[in-house]
């Protein structure tokens, strides 16, 4: 089949384009190149997904070296879906980015900015597509290094410290992951995921496997910002340049969660995971994350930080779904991974538009902006309702699925916590709506927007249209779940059958 080459193209295109972008140090050119790269990747990943949606698995051997020695790209429904959402978000972010980058990033950095953005993008795609666990680490580092640089480009000086904070914790996570991989390699002599899955159960030195497992999980949990390892996330997301907040919040943690799922089910088998305490721990941590993240979100006074804490809560839902270790629960997690990317993307885009117009997103300065920017406000409202889980939006689909998974196992406490999470979401979403729509501005807004004028009078078309695409997707996928639920179902079937045979 010719389509298997597509998988490697997804990584190669941005890899080749990134240095070229860096050379064109002009906004329009680097933007255009990035747009083309993202669009073509989006197209290829959609194609890939269509190929594997029926449960097929694509194998591609890099350089013709057969696994387990060579690196292999292995694409099934799960990673094709994750790759698609990464590409969609990257494309929308790029469409959105032009004006925002022009305003927020220093002119001499434009080329570098887009190059780093593409590197981050390719890193995330690489993590998603590869079937080799060491390769995961490599791409993890590519994307992380790029994102440290990107976050540090934020205008606020706190961006530097938050980037450094992220760098320390991120490196710690990556190191843990690497040591875990090293131990697994020492135990089995292989790095290929399929091969590992076959050989790990035969290892006699069970202590070593335990250690490897623990290190890999903790490393990934750091990357995925699972409570209580979420500390880097709120600052990193709130002080990064807007475009990066959008992109990372919608993709980076999702990809880490994907790797977590992959490791639990495809590397270490389901039977092995069941012998550990991990499922219970994950369910409980998920529950705590939901409550903690939501409560902290209520207490925030800035839109970006509120959204960041809400992300901590939403990650909790995904972790809880994985923790159930049932088909329904895992489907819920995967669907929520996709859905949350859509809604958080749209919400951060709305925040970015406010920043573009009034240079800040603290509640104090946002008072009454909803009335002034009704189109932005309504798109934001759709995404925010989806965060609550109002029916007719994507948020409802994933929550419904997750609650059903909890009911299936008679976990009444978890059902109550999920519903409580929705109620808390109402509180913080409504706090936002009240600020934006019902309070009137108290003082003259904002000083010194770069152009020299007090503030900017209109929203650029690119920014609003990208946001509306995501907002409408929130509704579309709330009614038509063939793509999301269907693919997630196929992916979960594959994961569980893999666990069964080994």
């Amino acid at each position: 089949m010719i389509h298997e080459q597509l998988s490697v193209l997804l990584v190669v295109i941005p890899l080749l384009a990134a240095p070229i972008t860096a050379m064109f140090n002009k906004l329009s050119w680097s933007w255009l190149i990035t747009l083309l790269v993202c669009a073509s990747c989006c197209f290829f990943s959609a194609w890939l997904l269509m190929d594997v949606a029926n449960g097929e698995i694509i194998h591609y051997e890099l350089g013709g070296w057969a696994p387990p020695w060579g690196i292999e790209y292995r694409i099934d429904a799960l990673n094709a879906l994750v790759a698609l959402i990464v590409c969609i978000i990257a494309l929308c972010t790029t469409i959105y980015s032009r004006k925002s980058v022009e305003q927020e990033i220093l002119p001499y950095q434009h080329g570098m900015f887009y190059a780093a953005f593409q590197l981050c993008f390719l890193g995330l795609l690489g993590i998603t597509l590869t079937g080799d666990i060491f390769n995961v680490f490599v791409f993890l580092e590519i994307s992380s290094l790029a994102s440290y640089a990107l976050i540090a480009m934020g205008k606020n000086r706190k961006a530097l410290t938050s980037s450094f904070h992220y760098l320390v914790l991120g490196t710690l996570g990556a190191t843990f992951f690497l040591i875990g991989v090293g131990l697994a390699y020492a135990a089995t002599g292989t790095l290929n995921m399929d091969d590992l899955a076959a050989k790990l159960p035969l290892v006699e030195n069970i202590q070593m496997v335990h250690t490897a497992f623990a290190l890999i999980i903790v490393g990934l949990a750091l990357k995925a910002a699972i409570y209580p390892l979420h500390l880097w996330l709120p600052n990193a997301y709130s002080y990064a340049p807007t475009v990066i907040s959008i992109f990372l919040s919608a993709t980076a943690t999702k990809v880490a969660i994907y790797v977590l799922i992959r490791c639990l089910f495809n590397v270490f088998s389901l039977e092995y995971v069941l012998t550990t305490w991990l499922p219970q721990i994950m369910t409980v941590l998920g529950a705590v994350a939901i409550l903690y993240g939501s409560v902290r979100a209520i207490g925030q006074t800035g839109m970006k930080k509120m959204l960041a804490y809400s992300s901590v809560a939403q990650i909790g839902y995904m972790i809880m779904g994985i923790g159930f270790l049932s088909q329904q629960g895992l489907t819920a997690s995967i669907v929520h991974l996709f859905n949350h990317a859509l809604m958080k993307g749209a919400l951060f885009m709305a925040a970015g538009l406010y920043i573009y117009r009034v240079n800040t997103a603290t509640f104090e300065n946002l008072k009454g902006m909803g009335r002034e920017m009704p189109y932005t406000f309504f798109a934001m409202l759709i995404a925010a309702l989806s965060l609550i889980g109002v029916p007719g939006t994507v948020g409802f689909v994933s929550k419904w699925q997750l609650i059903n998974a909890a009911l299936e196992q008679q976990q009444w406490g978890m059902v109550v916590i999920i519903l409580l999470g929705s109620l808390l979401a109402i509180v913080y979403v409504w706090k936002l709506v009240e600020v934006l729509y019902f309070q009137s501005a108290e003082k003259i807004r904002v000083q010194g927007v770069e152009s020299g004028s007090e503030r900017i009078g209109s929203s650029p078309l690119g920014m609003t249209s990208a946001m509306w695409i995501l907002a409408l997707a929130c509704i579309y996928f709330g009614f038509n779940t063939e793509l999301t639920l269907g693919t997630a179902g196929t992916a979960v079937d594959l994961l569980f059958s893999a666990g069964g045979t080994k």
């Binding site: 109002v390 059903n404 929705s422 109402i426 009614f479």
Partner: protein, 493 residues
């Protein structure tokens, strides 16, 4: 035209109307014409649907299927038709009234007001025609959200505070309890479709019937069963037409309608009676009827008094549903209609008093009846219909509710308590509602009062007269509502 496309048409028509209305901010007269046009054509569509239904066309159609076996779908059904007829016909009346009221009262943001009103009506139509619990829940939420800006219309601190209570209680109860109930039904029955005789019978363990049913009775906050009633008095800060149509007809009736639907088509009256879930729960609406009446007596603000009266009357309907026998359900369904026409007359009258005499308190009304005889005559008609005296429509629903209590399958004591409650409540009605026209007609005008007070503008008066006349008409011929309610109830058995 296909019946399915006609239903879609009924849902989209007010939405399209809302879009057009929202674009006509600079031309208030054209905007009002469009409001009337939309509401009239909606009534025509609903009547056409009514004819289809009487010809026996009830097949459901699916709009979307988010989960396997779980759909967003619509169908024609007698009870929904009854509600749709009431809501759409009263929308016209309210629109006429609102035009007079909003202008006389110099309200701001009138365009937003009329546009959101149309959106709310669209949500109500969708609730009427929904074919399963998920669809109903979806549009129940849409209704809450679209009426929130209407409640906070004035934009004052008080309005915002009320809006918070409104949204907090309605969304909190629906997501925390109602949705939980829907989930449990789905979990046990694997089906949310409204079906004859219910879907839960034999699937839900009997000891769970009580808690699950309680999730619906309290989770459907729009039915305002105590302790979920606080939002309704809070919502009274809205302009009077909103209070009239939404908080006496559309929104609150959507709540009780949902409870009747759940009783008839999800649980099934037989299953409820067997499990005895209603024997205990029925005390809640019973106490609500009494307590709300007592609270109403203490309220001096007219609209607040009417709000508590609504709470008490809504619990009549909930009580009728919880009786779970055919007479009680018939009475409950009829009371949706009768209370709607009577209460809307009362609200319109209260609005007319506010607009012309600028009086909001009962204690200020002495002698005003001689200045505004027409308005207070209407108020009297509404009051008498709510009390349940002939020759007003309100008599029929109370009659069947009372008959229903006699057939209640629960303990003997509860049965007599229920009947007693209905009787006492009628007396209380006389006390707190009857007092208002009495005072207005027979009280003395205070010294130095404004001599120029006269009747409200003509559109307001037309709006006042129509529902009051219908109240009288419904006594002599409660058709077509009676036969529709009867068919709905018998199909649920």
């Amino acid at each position: 035209m296909e019946t399915s496309s006609l239903i879609i048409f009924a849902l989209l028509l007010p939405l399209v109307g809302a879009l057009i209305i929202s674009r006509l901010d600079s031309m208030p007269n054209v905007r009002e014409v469009f409001t009337l046009l939309t509401s009239t054509s909606l009534l025509v569509v609903v009547i056409a649907l009514y004819n289809r239904l009487q010809d026996g066309q009830t097949e459901a159609f699916v709009v979307a299927e988010p989960f396997a076996g779980l759909t967003i779908s619509f169908a024609l059904e007698q009870l929904g038709m009854l509600f749709a007829l009431v809501a759409s016909s009263l929308w016209i009346v309210t629109s006429i009234y609102a035009i007079g009221y909003m202008r006389a009262h110099h309200e701001k943001h009138q365009t937003r007001f009329f546009a959101l009103f149309a959106v709310a009506i669209s949500a109500v139509m969708a609730i009427c025609f929904s074919n399963n619990l998920l669809t109903l829940f979806l549009f129940y939420e849409v209704l809450t959200l679209s009426t929130y800006p209407l409640v906070t219309h004035a934009g004052t601190e008080k309005a915002k505070k009320s809006g918070r209570v409104y949204l907090g209680i309605l969304m909190g109860s629906s997501i925390g309890l109602f949705l939980f109930g829907v989930l449990l039904v789905w979990f046990y029955a694997g089906d949310l479709t409204f079906a004859q005789g219910g879907v839960l019978s034999g699937k839900l363990p009997e000891h769970l019937a009580l808690p699950v049913y309680a999730l619906f009775v309290f989770g459907i906050g729009k039915a305002a069963v105590m302790p979920m009633h606080k939002w309704l008095p809070a919502a009274m800060v809205a302009p009077t037409p909103v209070s009239a149509l939404l908080h006496a007809v559309a929104v609150v009736k959507a709540g009780v309608f949902a409870i009747i639907k759940v009783t008839l088509f999800i649980f099934g009256p037989d299953f409820l009676q067997e499990s005895g879930a209603n024997h205990w729960l029925i005390w809640f609406p019973m106490l609500t009827i009494l307590l709300a009446s007592f609270i109403a007596m203490t309220k001096d603000n007219i609209k607040e008094r009417l709000a508590y009266s609504t709470i008490s009357q809504l619990s009549y309907i909930v009580l009728g549903a919880l009786l779970a026998n055919s007479l009680g359900l018939l009475g409950a369904s009829m009371h949706i209609v009768m209370h709607a026409f009577a209460k809307i007359s009362l609200f319109f009258a209260a609005g007319a008093i506010l607009v012309t005499a600028h009086k909001t308190k009962v204690s200020e009304l002495s002698g005003l009846g001689r200045k505004m005889p027409f308005t207070f005559a209407i108020f009297l008609i509404g009051t008498l219909s709510i009390i349940g005296l002939p020759p007003f429509g309100g008599m029929w629903s109370k009659w069947y509710l009372a008959l229903g209590t006699l057939e209640f399958s629960g303990p003997e004591f509860t049965r007599w308590a229920l009947l007693g409650t209905l009787m006492i409540s009628s007396l209380l009605n006389i006390a707190y509602l009857g007092a208002i026209p009495m005072k207005a007609f027979f009280g003395k005008l205070p010294e130095g009062s404004d001599k120029t007070i006269k009747e409200a503008p003509l559109p307001c008066l037309i709006g006042l007269a129509v529902p009051a006349l219908i109240c009288i008409y419904l006594f002599f011929s409660p058709e077509p509502f009676f036969s529709m309610a009867q068919q709905a109830v018998s199909s649920g058995q």
